[in-house]
Symmetry: C2
Subunit: 163 residues, 2 copies
Amino acid sequence: MPRRTKTTRWLNAEEEAAWRAIAFVMHRLTWALECQLERDADLSYIEYHTLVRLSEEPNHTLRMSELAIVTNQSLSRLSHLAKRLETRGLLRRETDASDGRFTNAILTDEGYARLVASAPAHVEAVRALVIDAFSTAELRQLRDASERILARIDGQTGTPAAT
Amino acid sequence: MPRRTKTTRWLNAEEEAAWRAIAFVMHRLTWALECQLERDADLSYIEYHTLVRLSEEPNHTLRMSELAIVTNQSLSRLSHLAKRLETRGLLRRETDASDGRFTNAILTDEGYARLVASAPAHVEAVRALVIDAFSTAELRQLRDASERILARIDGQTGTPAAT
DNA sequence: TAGGTTGACTTGAAGGTTCAAGTGATGAGC
DNA sequence: GCTCATCACTTGAACCTTCAAGTCAACCTA
């Protein structure tokens, strides 16, 4: 892929320090929440969020393919994950009655109970580490910043013509 | 772990929206950079950063245990990683001459060349997705926000007495 | 209604990460 | 100087994720 300029615009000291802090916090925060969930709910982050998204659906039910989309994972990964959650009794799967190609993932009562039991601790952690560290205005700014980055990621996906 | 209050302080709509955006961008940004590196350098993020940290040392050399610390990975993980990088010719290991217990990880010339060749594209990506999206002042704020979160993570590590 | 295509998963193998146990070099105590 | 503890890794097994290939239902088309 040819570039317009030959010389790279390296990061200056300010920019580099900012980037290191951002990259580092992403890593550590992800890890901290992962640990908290593992400890308090015996669930990984992806497991927790898969169950959470299910719990937000009417009847605690969603098609595998849609669940994969809303939880940002490949269908294959979800399929393996569902199998494990199924053996743990937190989720079950049923072929859709009206169309045999679809599979519905359904949160079991036990899965829901697990979620109800562990949600407070998770919310507390999110509060303690992030939310409570900022004012309403600051949170708003962080959200804006996040969305600005997201727009850039989405904007450049695969298309080098973007700019 | 008993809590002071029985009722959970759930997130309000603003807080929830902010948190979802932050959590989502962490996930997507990590993934976007991972893809960029895989594509342009045939290296995973952890591989790239392991080599980068080595390249910043005098003689491109660092003890395995110290390299593990600065790259935020377990010694075990680094050991496996080093073995793979070694077979790819990007890194080599030598027992320390003065103390046989230490192992030095050394960036090979080929490894350094790979880094030199791929750094521009990576910096460009970081610029395009993050740095260039913000003013100097905004970057400063983002850095502050990151460090505030980091302080909270470090503060509560394991010690429930913290507050 | 047989044959091919598409969509929606599922499966198996390969590779990476983690955890616990193993190895080998030093240094301390007797 | 022999034994034991410690340090700094390394290794193996179990588990998770990814990728490519496989299965199976429904639809389409002649």
